[in-house]
């Protein structure tokens, strides 16, 4: 069972002040799948992601990642855990004072004892893996386009060859061609690097193209299923989401 389930959330409750975001939320993410998390604005998609990776404190409930409870970890255990996953924030969140290559080298320098030359080589490999041209390695984030910044951010999140990556709206703000290319990139990487992907998104094209299962945040809880099954559900928000004009256009392809 443990081999099959990579993230297991039970009875999660998160709240800010009196504002309850999630209440008694359960979620399982299986090894090797691409899970898309959707939900209306303010339903706490990004909050869920931030809670699982430890940037938010959960008020109640347990979060197990790789079979260990994240909520009860010491700092040292958490650091070890962080090496096994990568996170891509919305606009890449690259360190603006460092070049792309240096950004990718940060986790390598921090968590490994590799020699400098090896780290340099590895950074170049990652730059190539995410489809950036080699000369992008020595550019600063401000010199890159939005799409390239996201690719560079992805390269940094893959620096330590994690088993699990969290993506926060990876295709938001990209043009349709760039978004489709990024979708393909995620799919390719997921297959070649054997990744599990936890992806918060609004992009119906991404959902249709690359997600194995979809988690819908409604009423402070989560419903997970394949797209076909979700479309049969009789919840007003789900109906509107998957049967709206945009959804129909995305699903036709």
């Amino acid at each position: 069972m443990e081999n099959d389930t990579i993230i297991s959330v039970r009875g999660l409750r998160t709240q800010f002040g009196v504002n309850v975001i999630h209440d008694d939320l359960d979620l399982d993410v299986r090894r090797g799948e691409v899970l898309g998390v959707v939900g209306g604005s303010g339903t706490g998609k990004s909050v869920l992601l931030r809670t699982i990776i430890g940037l938010n404190k959960a008020s109640a409930g347990s979060i197990q990642v790789f079979g260990d409870n994240v909520t009860e970890m010491s700092d040292r255990e958490q650091r070890a855990m962080q090496q096994r996953w990568g996170v891509l924030f919305q606009d890449g969140a690259l360190f603006s004072s460092l070049t792309v290559a240096q950004n990718i080298e940060v986790p390598l320098k921090e968590h490994t004892q590799l020699r400098k030359e090896v780290i340099n080589e590895l950074a170049c490999v990652k730059v190539d893996i995410v489809g950036l041209p080699p000369d992008a390695a020595n550019k600063y984030p401000s010199e890159l386009s939005g799409g390239m910044r996201k690719r560079a951010g992805l390269a940094r999140s893959l620096a330590l060859d994690p088993e699990l990556v969290f993506l926060d709206e990876p295709t938001a703000g990209l043009d349709p061609i760039g978004a489709a290319a990024f979708d393909n990139l995620i799919r390719d990487l997921q297959q070649s690097l054997n990744l599990t992907v936890f992806m918060v998104t609004h992009d119906l094209d991404s959902l249709a193209a690359i997600c194995d299962r979809i988690a819908v945040l409604i009423d402070k809880k989560i419903v997970v299923d394949t797209m076909e099954n979700l479309m049969q559900l009789n919840h007003p928000w789900i109906q509107e989401y998957f049967h709206g004009p945009r959804a129909r256009a995305a699903l036709k392809r």
Partner: protein
């Protein structure tokens, strides 16, 4: 002109009061019509008409949302004085607009809840007071957090980010030399001149040198440098860390497993604690130099006399009293600068606000601690 402006005419036809609208009723012309339409309710009542009123809009050349609003408001105004009114003759495109605006105005307006001005004043004062305590408490807890990490780094110096520290030392120290030097030199000139002006009345012009030496070395050198650095580097720290916060770089640091305090705060604090004393020493020298230039050129005190008098007027303690404050001020400025940086939330606006707050709080704390030092030294008799 006639075609461009909007107009209306009123007349009574049988028992009906008729308002005939024409021309262009749009956002440019509405202002002129609105004033004239204000008295329409009274005019309608004063007329002989007793039946429902009619607003005839067939003659309109142009109508936009502002014009439609005015027509609807006129209709509602007539209804309010007891005269039902109908809008008639609208062109199809105007009709749709009128309907839409009518729907928007149909929402009942809730009167905004306004507290009494006295109540608002008192609650604003109370909130400001409370906010100060909240700020002080969170600054104190940040101080504690920094101390813990500071201790950890001191125990294991391998954790210190040497490159970052040296880089900060250059930007806060070396790069500040010209402005600190110039400012101190000018302050030396001013103190020497003002002192001589007053002391000359007692024939004690020579004591200008003592005044200069003591005031620069004990107080002015360190205080002015600290204030300058609070404005120059404290604000820079806040803006740098704040922008990283907005850009989610701080989150990224944490998910990579790096401690933002260790990576961002400790190098800045150490760099400033090393460089501020150096800058103060430099400021002391430049201040004395400024005073010396003033004394020897304008005040007829020879260089020899100046140096002799300075030697007798100040001693190592005078110098040390100034210097000992420098690392403390440096710590305060860097702490507040970083603290406010982490307080930035979400927007570019917030970066600006916190940067201002960081400079104000930094200078405030520097002066408060300077006063505390003065009291301490006077108790110790130094």
């Amino acid at each position: 002109m006639a075609a461009a402006a909007g107009w209306f005419k009123t007349r009574t036809f049988g028992d009906r009061f008729i308002i005939e609208a024409g021309g262009r009723w749009n956002v440019q012309t509405v202002e002129a019509i609105e004033g004239k339409l204000r008295g329409i309710g009274a005019e309608a009542r004063a007329s002989a008409a007793s039946g429902p009123a009619l607003i005839d809009v067939a003659g309109l050349d142009a109508l936009d949302a502002a014009g439609a609003w005015l027509i609807t408001r006129t209709r509602l105004g007539l209804a309010a004085v007891g005269m039902d009114a109908a809008v008639e003759g609208a062109k199809p495109s105007h009709g749709a607009l009128l309907e839409r605006v009518e729907k928007a105005l149909a929402h009942e307006e809730l009167p905004p809840q306004v507290d009494h001005i006295f109540l608002r004043f008192v609650s604003a004062v109370g909130k400001a007071q409370f906010d100060v305590f909240v700020l002080a408490r969170s600054l104190l807890s940040f101080f504690g957090l920094v101390l813990i990490v500071f201790g950890r780094v001191m125990l294991r110096p391998g954790q210190l980010r040497l490159t970052a520290t040296v880089y900060r030392m250059q930007s806060v120290g070396l790069n500040a030399l010209p402005i600190v030097g110039l400012l101190s030199f000018l302050i030396g000139v001013v103190v020497a001149f003002q002192g001589a002006d007053q002391l000359a009345q007692f024939g004690a012009e020579i004591f200008t040198v003592n005044l200069l030496g003591v005031s620069i070395l004990r107080e002015l050198g360190v205080l002015l440098t600290a204030i300058l650095i609070a404005g120059r580097s404290g604000s820079a720290f806040t803006a740098q860390i704040g922008t990283m916060k907005v850009n989610q770089e701080i989150d990224a640091l944490e998910t990579i497993g790096l401690d933002p305090i260790e990576v961002l705060v400790i190098p800045r604090i150490i760099a400033l604690m090393i460089m501020l004393p150096v800058l103060v020493f430099y400021a002391d020298l430049m201040g004395l130099l400024g005073g010396m230039v003033m004394a020897t050129t304008v005040l007829d005190i020879s260089l020899n006399t100046f140096l002799k008098q300075l030697q007798s007027g100040v001693n190592l303690t005078t110098f040390a009293v100034g210097m000992v404050k420098a690392p403390v001020f440096a710590f305060l400025i860097a702490l507040v600068g970083c603290f406010e940086g982490f307080n930035v939330s979400g927007s570019a606006e917030s970066v600006g606000q916190k940067t201002t707050a960081s400079v104000v709080e930094g200078i405030f704390l520097v002066i408060v601690f300077d006063a505390a030092f003065s009291i301490l030294f006077s108790i110790l008799g130094i």
